[in-house]
């Protein structure tokens, strides 16, 4: 009895352990299964037990930036990722998200953000950031970028190149904000700029909308307009993955490419078919009076045809 109750509470885990019974569940499991070439990562954005208004606004704004590939949790979750990450791992399994942003507020760590990612449903690295200053999307009156715009990511400052934690933070931020992997981009759609500057031990995150101005040559001149959210962040605690695990997570599988098979945009499979040479002499074309064989000649032809076959049978 107990086990069945447990299964009722988390049907997705229950399903993962079993063979799918319907096509639908099979499709669902396939979408969750590890893939050779992965789709973009999605993020879960959640609150801790205590949050300030500022933290809620930050989470909301970052959700707006990340939107199609993010889940915003509305209720509070009383966990401390640095002490116990099991609940994060549980949520990650539930929503199939491998990035998380956790916001909390306490006396010891006011306005606290934890940015992290998971590998194989286990925490790979987390970095804790304190918010010093924040202005939200709605504070700045300017026209915004459309939802789901792939941002241009810019990092400035020595620290991102020298300091180990900053390096990891850079990798994490790229992972978090880069969006889906695309093969082509519309030039007029390059609107959103996310600029991270590390200066005097602080990290300044600024979000701009780029305006493409005429420059006289082909490449346009860029002007920027701040759209928010902008954050001034301080680095707090970090939990970085061990080198072994980090290496393992980066391992790229070799994709075996099947020859002569391709797919189009709709997923239709194309292959090359090898055919034997067609005997065109037996091709039936349109009958016309002018091309019709004469009776006498046709009879001669028919007699000629099967003659060698018979001979072969006899021998």
């Amino acid at each position: 009895m107990l086990s069945t109750v447990g299964q009722c509470c988390m049907p997705w885990l229950f399903l993962l352990a079993r063979n799918p019974k319907t096509k639908r569940s099979k499709r669902f499991l396939e979408s969750r299964a590890p893939k050779l070439v992965e789709d973009g990562k999605s993020a879960m954005i959640m609150k801790g037990g205590n949050t300030s208004q500022l933290i809620s606004n930050v989470l909301k704004d970052i959700y707006a930036l990340k939107k199609p590939n993010a889940v915003l949790y509305k209720k509070k979750n009383i966990t401390r990722p640095f002490e116990d990450s099991t609940s994060l791992e549980f949520f990650s399994k539930k929503t199939d998200c491998s990035l998380f942003l956790f916001g909390s507020h306490s006396k010891k760590r006011p306005d606290n953000l934890i940015l992290g990612r998971l590998f194989d449903f286990h925490v790979l690295d987390m970095i804790e950031l304190g918010i010093e200053k924040f202005s939200s999307l709605s504070d700045i009156k300017a026209s915004k970028c459309p939802e789901g715009t792939k941002p241009m990511l810019l990092f400035a400052g020595e620290a991102f190149d020298t300091d180990n934690e900053h390096k990891r933070l850079k990798s994490l931020l790229i992972d978090f904000f880069r969006g889906p992997n695309v093969s082509a981009v519309r030039l007029a759609g390059l609107e959103h700029v996310l600029h991270f500057t590390s200066l005097d031990g602080k990290i300044y995150m600024r979000s701009y909308r780029s305006l493409l101005k005429k420059s006289g040559c082909r490449t346009p001149r860029i002007e920027l307009e701040e759209i928010g959210p902008s954050l001034d962040l301080v680095l707090r605690r970090t939990h970085l993955a061990s080198d072994d695990l980090y290496k393992l997570a980066h391992r790229k599988p070799k994709a075996k490419k099947k020859k002569n098979i391709s797919h189009d945009a709709f997923g239709t499979k194309f292959g090359r078919v090898h055919m034997q040479k067609q005997d065109l002499s037996k091709l039936r074309t349109r009958k016309m009076k002018g091309l019709r064989k004469r009776k006498g000649r046709a009879a001669v032809g028919e007699q000629d045809g099967p003659a060698p076959k018979e001979a072969r049978v006899a021998s």
Binding site: E38, F155, I174, V182, V185, H195, R251
Partner: protein, 296 residues
């Protein structure tokens, strides 16, 4: 103004060109690192805090961002472009920044029990030919097909197997065996009783077969022509079986009528003697009906 020399004009044009380029060029001590596949640029230049203090911080950050964006945009605009539905699209190269995977790569499927066994024994899959070399005629013969052809030619129906000895029979096998046993009577199981709650055996009936959509149309043509012939002819089609049956029934009726009239004339009463008449009539009918011409 009128005395404008060619050299002056050229110098002017050159300057204009420089000015144009000036608006999109940015000088940096260290070159930026680009990962255009991710639309990413990393500026490794040292930021002097004195510069920041001299200007307002926000303005400084924006100017820095503008310069870096300009450099990235310059890089993106160098990419090959394409026109797709009124939009100019640049094809991005593969991202170069190493980022961790979400999940470990998919594991290869575990081998099946047969695959394991085959590997252990070194059995390799190979195509088997059905052809067998015939020494006497020196040709390859398909023995199995030959036997099947013989069976078909003699109209021999190969009976299904009953119950084969096995450790454990499945339900399916048992039901099949029961059905085979039941139909193995002289009357092909017509008079076999069914057990209570016994279910009908599935998949015993004929399967529908359709004519192929393409290929030889002669059969179809013949059918259609026959139909047209029936439709077109003024005379109705003669169904011999039906006609003969009708004829026989008529004869019966006539005979019966003749007998009735005969009997009525003799005894002077309406023929309602049950035993005698019934027997006679039954006999007569039985005698006639025996030669039913339906099946010949």
């Amino acid at each position: 103004m009128a005395a404008c020399s060619v050299e002056e004009l050229l110098a002017k044009a050159e300057e204009e060109e420089k000015e144009k380029l000036k608006s999109i060029t940015v000088h940096k001590d260290l070159e930026l690192e680009f990962d255009v596949g991710n639309l990413l640029a990393v500026d490794k230049n040292r930021i002097d805090s004195r510069d920041v203090k001299s200007a307002k911080k926000e303005d400084f950050l924006r100017a820095l961002a503008r310069d870096n964006t300009q450099l990235l945009i310059n890089e993106v605009w160098k990419l090959p472009t394409e026109r797709v539905d009124d939009a100019i699209v640049a094809t991005l190269p593969e991202p170069t920044t190493p980022l961790p995977r979400e999940k470990p790569p998919p594991k290869p499927k575990p081998p099946t029990k047969w695959e394991q066994f085959a590997k252990l024994k070194g059995i390799q899959k190979k195509k088997k030919t059905n052809l067998v070399w015939d020494e006497t005629e020196r040709v390859a013969r398909n023995e199995y097909n030959k036997l099947k052809n013989i069976a078909r030619a003699q109209k021999v129906k190969i009976p299904g197997l009953g119950l084969t000895p096995k450790e454990q029979q499945s339900k399916n096998e048992l039901t099949k065996a029961v059905s085979v046993a039941k139909t193995s009577t002289a009357s092909a199981g017509r008079f076999q009783d069914r057990l209570p709650k016994e279910k009908r055996v599935k998949n015993t009936g004929k399967k529908r077969k359709f004519e192929p959509l393409i290929g030889d149309f002669s059969n179809e043509r013949q059918k259609q022509l026959e139909l047209l012939k029936v439709l077109g002819s003024k005379k109705p089609k003669l169904d011999i079986t039906k006609a003969v049956n009708k004829q026989m029934r008529e004869e019966d009726r006539e005979e019966a009528a003749a007998k009735r009239s005969k009997g009525a004339g003799k005894k002077g009463r309406k023929g309602n003697v049950p035993g005698k008449r019934k027997g006679k009539a039954g006999k007569a009918q039985g005698g006639k009906r025996r030669g039913k011409p339906g099946k010949r």
